[in-house]
């Protein structure tokens, strides 16, 4: 009893001592500072239980302080609010504006705990300086004030005491801000649960990533593409029917013009969120996509079946008869010239330009693939990769135009107009004729042991397909490529949605071309068991007479009959040509197979 009584008295006295002390100091402070500080409000404030000297340290002798000689130290909020202070060191307001805690937390001596919704209080605080009309009234701010708990306040996007200063250079800062804020938008607008609650579609995000803007940003290069805020602006988010909305056509035109200075107004019809599966919203894109998918399916179904059956039949044939088409003739024996120097140079240039196009284009097509960014880095980023892509495309166009010129010269030699139809469907032409369809049927019969392998002339039907496909492919991929290269200029001729169509067509046709070359073309010409691993005559230009008899017996007979065989015979390729053919040919083959693997990996997983 006695002990507890004394303890109670001790605790009571201890409790009394501190407030008395504090009040004593404050009583002194009040005498001079009550003009500036509302002391009753301070006692009610969040810091009211602390004495003045808790923050205003350093006054040791009152008489000196009264004479202005013993000033208090600068208030250091970090003494108590360490984690906030730590974050605030890198905050924009600190770094650029030198703002201190009390500049936002005003008035500092009567701070109260926020009442009601803290997010709304914060927003109101920010809007003391940042115009409310822009940041709060439309879009997110309005939804927050209406009580939507999903709606973000200022801090949800910008951070609270860690508002980033992305970079000290304005240009880098803009690019980094674009990347960060686009990802912020996507973190909510790509969230399925939030989308369901707030009745918006996550397709918006998916479809953004299908555009050039989205793909390049996804690959980690936000410098030269549009992020969410470039079109929607950061805050003024209203339905596009509203004249103040960023998406209102006039405003959108200005937004596009910021990066595409030469453009027609109709370019705003470009759909930045296209959905090729949505027939109602994007009918033309939908049908373009359907056409390309059917084309791809048809081509690959036919030719992959053809390859598999051929491999199976040739494999059996090879092991039954132990036969391989001879690639090398005995020393000193002359060989047949199949390709001229011009043809070979054109093919080498074609190979180079094709690989450059694939190596620079596919990292954008599959920007989310793990190999995309390293590959773009290899080129020095998407801008440099784009320059190489366009350069290679121009080279390919030049080769294509030259091929067209050579085709015309073949049909009309020395301006001779008569007999062009005969030449077109003749045995030296690469244009398909009736025999090719018969050969194709014959080949399938041979696959299933229903007959002998057809006898071919100078060009087989699959070689003719390769050649003719270039005319389709170059037209489609070339035209769509130019539209994507100069969208602004083409907007004077075409509606904006044609850019979306061009994107679908260019992308799918590129896939068709690359995979066709790396699988079907490689198999037909190099990987088929009778020629494995490499048929070099496209690089050396010549092949043995025995190979000609085996592969193209009709041409051989025709040449013998016409007495032209001897004039086709040339010296066998030298060691240099052989070495070049092996290194360049095998290198291209291996690179193509690796690329095919990477493309399938990205497309399937």
């Amino acid at each position: 009893m006695h002990v507890s009584f004394f303890i109670s008295v001790f605790i009571f006295l201890l409790g009394m001592i501190s407030p008395i002390g504090a009040l004593g100091i404050e009583a002194n402070c009040k005498q001079c500072h009550s003009d500036n500080i509302d002391f009753p409000a301070f006692y009610r404030s969040i810091h009211g239980s602390l004495g003045c000297r808790s923050c205003h340290e350093g006054v040791s002798r009152l008489e000196l302080h009264l004479r202005g000689q013993d000033q208090a130290n600068t208030v250091n909020c970090a003494r108590c609010h360490q984690s906030v202070a730590q974050k605030y060191r890198r905050d924009f307001h600190n770094l650029k504006l030198n703002m201190a805690c009390q500049d936002c937390h005003q008035p500092i001596h009567s701070l109260a705990k926020p009442r009601g919704n803290a997010a709304i209080s914060l927003m109101n605080s920010c809007c003391q300086c940042h115009p409310r009309a822009y940041y709060v009234l439309p879009g997110h701010g309005r939804a927050l004030e209406a009580g939507n708990p999903d709606a973000p306040s200022c801090a949800d996007c910008h951070g609270l005491h860690n508002i980033p200063l992305f970079d000290l250079s304005a240009e880098k800062s803009a690019a980094l801000a674009r990347e960060v804020y686009t990802k912020k938008c996507i973190s909510c607008h790509g969230n399925v649960k939030m989308a369901r609650r707030n009745k918006f579609s996550t397709q918006t995000v998916k479809s953004y990533y299908e555009t050039y803007h989205g793909k390049v940003l996804m690959a980690g290069y936000p410098q030269r593409v549009a992020g969410c805020a470039d079109c929607h602006t950061g805050h003024n988010i209203l339905p596009k029917s509203n004249k103040d909305a960023a998406l209102y056509p006039d405003h959108l035109y200005q937004a596009c013009k910021a990066c595409h200075p030469i453009m027609h107004k109709r370019m705003v019809k470009f759909d930045a969120h296209p959905n090729p599966q949505d027939r109602k919203r994007n009918a033309t894109i939908y049908w373009a996509n359907v056409f390309m998918v059917l084309l791809l399916a048809g081509v690959f179904l036919f030719f992959w079946t053809h390859c598999v059956l051929w491999w199976w039949r040739a494999y059996l044939e090879k092991y039954r008869r132990g036969k391989k088409i001879p690639q090398v003739s005995p020393m000193g024996e002359k060989q047949i010239e199949r390709f001229t120097v011009r043809d070979r140079v054109m093919h080498v240039l074609l190979v180079i330009s094709f690989f450059v196009l694939v190596l620079t284009g596919f990292p954008i097509k599959y920007a989310d693939a793990p190999w995309a960014k390293p590959l773009l880095n290899f080129w020095g980023g998407p801008k440099v990769a784009g320059t190489f892509h366009r350069g290679a495309a121009l080279l390919l166009c030049a080769l294509f135009l030259y091929t067209c010129w050579l085709s015309l010269k073949f049909l009309f030699p020395k301006g001779e107009k008569s007999g062009w139809l005969k030449r077109l469907f003749g045995p030296d032409s690469l244009f398909p004729n009736l025999k090719d369809f018969k050969d194709m049927a014959g080949m399938f019969r041979w696959f299933f042991r229903g007959g002998e392998m057809p006898k071919f002339d100078r060009w087989t039907y699959w070689e003719k397909f390769d050649f003719m496909a270039v005319f389709w492919g170059m037209t489609v991929i070339g035209l769509s490529g130019f539209i994507l290269w100069f969208p602004g200029i083409f907007s004077y001729l075409l509606p904006g949605w044609m850019i979306n169509v061009a994107m679908v067509v260019h992308s799918e046709e590129a896939f068709l071309a690359a995979i066709f070359i790396f699988t079907v073309h490689f198999f037909n010409n190099h990987l088929v068991p009778t020629k494995f691993p490499l048929e070099k005559n496209i690089f050396t230009g010549r092949y043995p007479v025995e190979a000609m008899k085996e592969e193209r017996p009709l041409e051989y007979e025709r040449m013998v009959e016409a007495g032209r065989l001897e004039e086709m015979k040339k010296e066998a390729p030298g060691i240099g040509a052989q070495l070049f053919a092996s290194i360049f040919g095998l290198g291209s083959l291996i690179l193509g197979i690796i690329l095919a693997f990477l493309i399938f990996w990205a497309a399937l997983f």
């Binding site: 600068t74 600190n94 770094l95 009309a133 822009y134 200063l165 000290l168 304005a170």
Partner: protein, 245 residues
């Protein structure tokens, strides 16, 4: 050489002469220095003069310890404030930006023969970002000053009761382009010239990029100005708005 060839060579020579960067000569001997290097110079007692080239108010507000306050347009003070030894190392920095592009001080120092001029990369923000301390001789408490978008200012300028547009950029920048009717008092002279501003007018304070107007407005509020707004994003935002229009 024929007359035709001579004409071509003369033309090429003329073009090359036009593009010869003679202006660079004034900046010979100007180097960049990182905050970390500056910090080590300070730690190891390297002899150098540190100059904050921002305005007097900004320099009072926050600076790297031991900095001199000598704003870009105070060329005349170079002789009195900067040590006379031409071999002396001089480090210059801005309070809010990477570097003030219109800073005649560098030209002046170079003209007077100083050969070891350094510019602090990233200015004071980079120094702070690196986590190094700053000091404040007399901090100006900030007040809440609403900002106004360029579009709204444009609309506002069309109504009868015009606000006074106070452009606080340096004279060179002001001369290069400004909003019509704006009054120019550079931030570096604001503490001396604020009495020239009429108290009865509402003010719109305009700076280069929106980072200096808050300080100016906060300072002016201590001098009795009440109805103030800031142009959000400064002249950069204004020019962007005009181009879009």
């Amino acid at each position: 050489m024929s007359g035709y060839q001579r004409a071509i060579f003369s033309f090429i020579g003329m073009i090359l002469f036009c593009f010869t960067p003679f202006g660079e000569a004034a900046h010979a001997g100007v180097y960049y220095i990182t905050p970390k290097t500056l910090y080590w110079w300070m730690e190891y007692g390297e002899a150098f003069t540190l100059i904050n080239t921002s305005s007097y108010l900004e320099c009072l507000d926050a600076k790297i310890p031991k900095s001199l306050c000598l704003s870009c347009d105070e060329r005349e003070k170079v002789k009195t404030l900067v040590p006379p030894k031409k071999e002396a190392k001089i480090v210059l920095y801005d309070s809010t930006r990477e570097w003030e592009t219109f800073c005649p001080l560098v030209d002046e120092l170079a003209k007077q023969g100083y050969r070891q001029l350094y510019i602090l990369q990233g200015g004071l923000p980079a120094w702070k970002m690196a986590g190094f301390e700053t000091e404040s001789a007399e901090r100006i408490p900030r007040i809440f000053v609403p900002s106004i978008k360029a579009k709204d200012l444009d609309g506002w300028l069309k109504i009868a009761t015009l606000p006074l547009l106070l452009d606080i950029r340096m004279e060179d920048a002001f001369r290069a382009g400004h909003i019509e009717g704006a009054m120019n008092i550079p931030l570096s002279l604001l503490h001396r010239k604020y009495p020239d501003i009429p108290l009865n007018r509402s003010l719109v304070i305009i700076d280069a990029d929106g980072t200096k107007s808050l300080l100016a407005a906060s300072y002016l509020s201590r001098k009795g100005f009440r109805d103030m707004k800031r142009l959000a994003g400064g002249m950069v935002a204004w020019e962007k708005f005009r181009r879009a229009r």
